[in-house]
Symmetry: D2
Amino acid sequence: MIRTEYTVNTGDTAEFNNHVDDCVGTGRMGLALQKEYHDQLKIVQDEIGFGHIRGHGLFSDDMAIYQAYADENGEEKVEYNFTYLDRVMDDYISLGLRPFLELGFMPEKLASGTQTIFYWKGNTTPPKSDEGWTSLVIATLAHLIERYGAEEVTDWPIEVWNEPNLAGFWKDADMPAYFHLFEITFRAIKAFEPRFKVGGPAVCGGTDEKWIRAFLEFCREKKLQPDFITRHHYTINTPENIGHYRYNRLVEPKSGIAQLHTTRVIIDSFPEFAGKKIMITEFNTSYTPQSPLHDTNMNAAHIAAQLSMLGNDNASYSYWTFGDVFEESGVPFTPFYGGFGLVTNGLVKKPTFYTFKFFKRLKGQCVHRSDESVICKKQGGYNGVIWNLQMEDERERAEISFKLPADKQDYCLAVWTVDEVSGNPLKTWHDIGEPSSPSAEQLQLMRESAVPAVSTIRLSAKEYKVTFSLELAPNAVAYFELLPAEIRSDRGYDYERAVNKNG
Amino acid sequence: MIRTEYTVNTGDTAEFNNHVDDCVGTGRMGLALQKEYHDQLKIVQDEIGFGHIRGHGLFSDDMAIYQAYADENGEEKVEYNFTYLDRVMDDYISLGLRPFLELGFMPEKLASGTQTIFYWKGNTTPPKSDEGWTSLVIATLAHLIERYGAEEVTDWPIEVWNEPNLAGFWKDADMPAYFHLFEITFRAIKAFEPRFKVGGPAVCGGTDEKWIRAFLEFCREKKLQPDFITRHHYTINTPENIGHYRYNRLVEPKSGIAQLHTTRVIIDSFPEFAGKKIMITEFNTSYTPQSPLHDTNMNAAHIAAQLSMLGNDNASYSYWTFGDVFEESGVPFTPFYGGFGLVTNGLVKKPTFYTFKFFKRLKGQCVHRSDESVICKKQGGYNGVIWNLQMEDERERAEISFKLPADKQDYCLAVWTVDEVSGNPLKTWHDIGEPSSPSAEQLQLMRESAVPAVSTIRLSAKEYKVTFSLELAPNAVAYFELLPAEIRSDRGYDYERAVNKNG
Amino acid sequence: MIRTEYTVNTGDTAEFNNHVDDCVGTGRMGLALQKEYHDQLKIVQDEIGFGHIRGHGLFSDDMAIYQAYADENGEEKVEYNFTYLDRVMDDYISLGLRPFLELGFMPEKLASGTQTIFYWKGNTTPPKSDEGWTSLVIATLAHLIERYGAEEVTDWPIEVWNEPNLAGFWKDADMPAYFHLFEITFRAIKAFEPRFKVGGPAVCGGTDEKWIRAFLEFCREKKLQPDFITRHHYTINTPENIGHYRYNRLVEPKSGIAQLHTTRVIIDSFPEFAGKKIMITEFNTSYTPQSPLHDTNMNAAHIAAQLSMLGNDNASYSYWTFGDVFEESGVPFTPFYGGFGLVTNGLVKKPTFYTFKFFKRLKGQCVHRSDESVICKKQGGYNGVIWNLQMEDERERAEISFKLPADKQDYCLAVWTVDEVSGNPLKTWHDIGEPSSPSAEQLQLMRESAVPAVSTIRLSAKEYKVTFSLELAPNAVAYFELLPAEIRSDRGYDYERAVNKNG
Amino acid sequence: MIRTEYTVNTGDTAEFNNHVDDCVGTGRMGLALQKEYHDQLKIVQDEIGFGHIRGHGLFSDDMAIYQAYADENGEEKVEYNFTYLDRVMDDYISLGLRPFLELGFMPEKLASGTQTIFYWKGNTTPPKSDEGWTSLVIATLAHLIERYGAEEVTDWPIEVWNEPNLAGFWKDADMPAYFHLFEITFRAIKAFEPRFKVGGPAVCGGTDEKWIRAFLEFCREKKLQPDFITRHHYTINTPENIGHYRYNRLVEPKSGIAQLHTTRVIIDSFPEFAGKKIMITEFNTSYTPQSPLHDTNMNAAHIAAQLSMLGNDNASYSYWTFGDVFEESGVPFTPFYGGFGLVTNGLVKKPTFYTFKFFKRLKGQCVHRSDESVICKKQGGYNGVIWNLQMEDERERAEISFKLPADKQDYCLAVWTVDEVSGNPLKTWHDIGEPSSPSAEQLQLMRESAVPAVSTIRLSAKEYKVTFSLELAPNAVAYFELLPAEIRSDRGYDYERAVNKNG
């Protein structure tokens, strides 16, 4: 058992920037037409509530926006079809979300090549015509403005392409070609409507020196002022593939956070760009789908540690992804296939769902932050998140004790805990035989087992301090509220007698 | 710790008649117009699902059926208003319920006296005119048949009055007056439509020799053949009143069941009536509302014991009542006021809710019944309910072990447990200060704490037997399913590695 | 046929104050616990959307707030029960409504006498103790503030009693007693929380000179500054009673409006009170329930005329009542019983429902108002309400023509019409035999017949004017929108060919 | 005006087989994952309620069932993924539907060639391996049985492939190759589970002599006894293409019905197959999507004529398709794009929706059928559908009069009419400018204009006959109910006074 004690004194504060709900990731936009996708997203929005949503495939052919045809003279003409785009955007808006628009991938008929990525075959080659590309971008934005109003739409962030530093995502990882794409896109959008916010370069992690610095130099040279800088962030070593699955090794949360700080330092080294907002447009533990890790308590605890620190340098960090409707590596065979999502196919909440829910519930001024806890002051009391990340094979329980300033006498401490016993439907699914097609009864059982344990306890302050300990199993994550709770019994009501006496 | 072990052998069966869902009780019919009433009943029906519903007040003035007025010549005329009756019946039917019609109490303008009962003032005097009463009864039944069809309506059981053996419910507890009422009502209904089933005498417990026997003698003499015999059943000693509340002492479940058996014996002693169906039209632990006992785990465990035995002699036993919208002693001041209901005002499920849900889930042939358990065989496996009733001040935990016949190798045991820690919102409400007007957040917390703990474990059969132990806290009630569960892992999926290894 | 033509010129404006949605009336507060009440109110709020709701019975005994009991020494003590109040307020707030609090009637145990009003027996006598009364008022307001916050609750208008100038509503219509009640209540509330807005005297119409003037003189003398003045407004002559029903004769809308203006004049004649807000806390055509008039098209047209003028002098006018759950004259026998409501029991919308819906939809600056029409400019087009009130036995159709300024070429005129043929479920109910207990199929038919006829037509502007005529059956009410509508056909689409040619 | 009169005498009956709700068509199965698809289907099921649903693409790659991969030795292995299949089937079942399984098209990795059909690229070549194909079929059926039970699943009809007589749907329209596919599939299914019902040859119309006869000869020779014979049925001449759209010329309904009768005659000429069930697994007016005709009143009237006759020879006729989520010719650009559906994208009901709803409502014994009407006797009254099909440029109104036997005195005739004025949202959409991306307000207006006009009238019988006339605009379709409706007014209620008098 690891034992830790913390004392918070009156007036203490701690730094903690909570942007947990700014943005969330999604499988390709064409999947947003699906009912299961909507149902998963609705659960996420009802209980967590993100502000923006970002994913690939806005211009991929299943969205059917770019339509080329031969006119009566055999000449190629282009028209745009916004039927599916409207449907997706309407749905997002009805769920309280705004899109974070990632411009990509390439419609087949506008592409310069045939290279594709993923099971769903997103074309990752530059446009065959710059003008065709910018026309497509502007026509799309113009349509969105006509439908939703400029006030609203210019508030949707725009990012140019995805991970161009990887040859899979952008032919040959051709940096000049990407910078050119960024430039023409950026200039076209700003010329059309300067209120739009446009950023890049959307690179994956580990390429700060090479890509981020080069991008900023390019912008400086071309006198482009991007509205924000984007990159991604994952925290595993190279995975091992077995059958449909990938097994990853997690690194320490802090090492990832340190790596992110490099980006901040590089940006701030440019006087033109110092202080510019960084938006992590993707993050998670593993970057591979079909990674069983995603469904575990360890994932939940690791993300808790990350969420306590990601706001240090970044204005946004978008968990990749909200749900398990996802096809990059093909269609999943089972409900617990190690997808990125917070919710499985079949609408079962994973442990990491609650990590987000807990951080979203945090309100008030931070008074304490440590490696395994964050506490904020609110409404005459406190709320906090604690976790016990255990990555090694030998795993220990933890007991964390707090002594907090109190100006009332009587308190109730309510604790919501997700650990290997409670809120862990992966175990339930395993125990019932790992069914690929669970029955309605099995799904119901999994959903019932996917809720945190809730407990309450009464506490009394002593000398203006209230003290309590919380015990966490390995990789548990818990949320607590400590609120004043004077007992005001109704006339004649005697709880102790009711509960402990027969008569 | 109390330790018990049971072995079931192949081919074993046990007697157990499960009529848990035949009927449930309700506050007076006028309350069925309320939205909170509907919302509570909907929860009960969605998760438990009773077949019938029975309560007082069909003819009380808030149902507005009986309307007397003076015509142009000043003569009293009567007309019937079925607006509210239709509304209530439509709602019951939409919730999958059929009424168990209790004929009573007396409309003020048809009453022979002014005696009333309850905060809501039900008139408990005989009719001033026999003909006025039977006309009212027949007009009501005729209206129901016109609206819902004779096939349907004649299937609704009918009971004449409520607890006429108590002076509060029937002026002077006048036995001949009641028998007369029964006779005229019975004859009028059967003359109108012989398919109706009519029963009585709806007495409270403890009066078998006096009232049940006399009633049967009266029926024999008058050549009346009632379709079933009704009585009530409560299991407490005299309560102590303090402020708004009453504190009761529970008696052993078995002593109550023994007392019920007397009724069976008396009926069977009449050759004309031997074997006639007994319907317990009310039962609970305490017969008083505002009885804090009702909200406790002890209540849940006591009712579990009762539900395992009530089918011994009785075809129906109607828990008094499904919900906490109830006004007999006035309007409750708090959500946990010790009401009879399975659900509180504010839609929080009490422990006893789950006792009913658990027994309702029991399917298949009983293979074992003991003082603290019932097990049935189904779908190649088993399901059961177990409980640990502890009524004394010193309370013990129990460990119950079962060895059951098995024809498969791999099983999953799933257990749903309600005890002082899980599924016990009364404690939560107390811990937050016993608020009379809980906020939305407080209600949410109470609802979250009102769910059973769910756990699963994998088991392997040995020599065609599967063995397991369940530990129960004092007054815990649990439901389990033991079902075959061979593991069929997807290609490459390794649960142990995913959960226990980093990478 | 009555023919009328109007021309509106560029820049024309007309006076029209649209407070249609400020407030609506309701049957007594205890009825707000009912499901049917909630369902009717939900329809009204979903489609019309009022801001406040006002009705009687806050302190009547079915709300159970005032509870007196004898303590151990036999002394009368008082406690308050807010269970039902919370339930009602929560429901109002969930439907987007704020209460307009009418303080009354008297709890039986606080009353000085036994006089009651209505089938539901509201006690209409002064308090037996001034202090008991003000304590009740302040305890209630304090509770509301604790539950909903002072910011919110002090925004709820408060009115002292109802129609004290009628002996039925206030014992002996005792003016000094009412003024005393007003004074102690007003002073107590302001002392407790000065932000509350308190008004009176809530008199019925026709008593301006006597009561309004006296009330203002009293306030001047006592140096009370009420926040607003309240009165009621109905527009019929004395009804004739037959069986359960009352038949009324409507007066001209303008004569009613003229009468209301008197109140304005009297108030403005007091320098201390000049310009003070007038709130009509009840209005309708007939003041009697069971008045078949309420369900008719004539009622809808009359209310349309009123709604076009009621804002002339008044800041609020609360239609009495939103729905037909109402018991002042007893429980209705049929769904179309002439209740005050916009929606019947059984959730069928009456013609007057649409009068409100149409006025609520009116947006923009008024450019034209006449005896049978109001037109406002919005979004490059117009919207308007027109009606054809015909009160005499001989009834005529009307054709109303408009010529409006246009800055576009192509328009679409959409018209929603409620008349004797469309949106008139009373006729449907009559045609199917006036059933008191309609079946589900009959209700469905009634609901399907309770929708306006919708039509569209394309119009072209000529010389910057667009011209059109609308024909109205007697007592029809219609809403129209005239909006720019250029045709942008998809490539190859030919509507005329599709519709008018075979192939 | 065309005037027609019909007299029905007591005891008259007419032949009319109403299988309107047996089955409906759908776009490819992969689209069934979409939310808009579900929402459209839910409307159709809620208001019409079909029994089965049939469409293409069960085995197409977007359903992801057939998965080939290389094992560690580089050998191709096959596994099946039922994730999407389960999702679609669960949704159908939740909507009260059973699938009519069409086996096709070919998974790319199982295909012998690369020929595809449609925008969505269904592979239409034979399997590269017979065994691979039958294994896929049997694995799919076995999975469905495991999930839904053999009792249920063997009740789902199975059809082998689609329109193999067209070279687009089946490479080279190779008849021997299809017959071979049919034989191996049929034999494999029957060997697996003989209770399955399997049919073919699923040909389009106009090929009875060639394909139906050859198919039956083949079956006779091979001693195959198919459970039913399937074909398709459309009623237009060759369309003209303009831009995205096709314009078709409708033929007379009767000529189509006559052509269908040929199939019956051919089948019955084989003694082995005489009387065998014919299932029309697709029918509509035009066989092309993007056919504006589908959205018109003429389509609705033509389908009405068809529905009155299709039961003459056929046990099932499946309208192609229930909704407008459909991609065979690409993604639609506008909501009224001439799709096959009964409901548009955006959930607006087309006129033909009501043709189906009206025929579905028809209950009882047919007493009259003519070229423009069907009448059935029910519940002491009648219900009927009438239409006025007008295909030429000059179109006439029709007045149809009926004299029907009556055993009551008073009746109410209720009529629901869809014509160019009511229930015609295509006109509304045109009038507002044919928007491709309608706003929420525009959609609301379209939906409000997509309801039938409802009217009621009271009728009195004379000499045991009730007589009435209905007037229909060109291409109107109407449903009526004529039911007994004695007036039972409440005490004092006078409808005429309420409606026609002021006071």
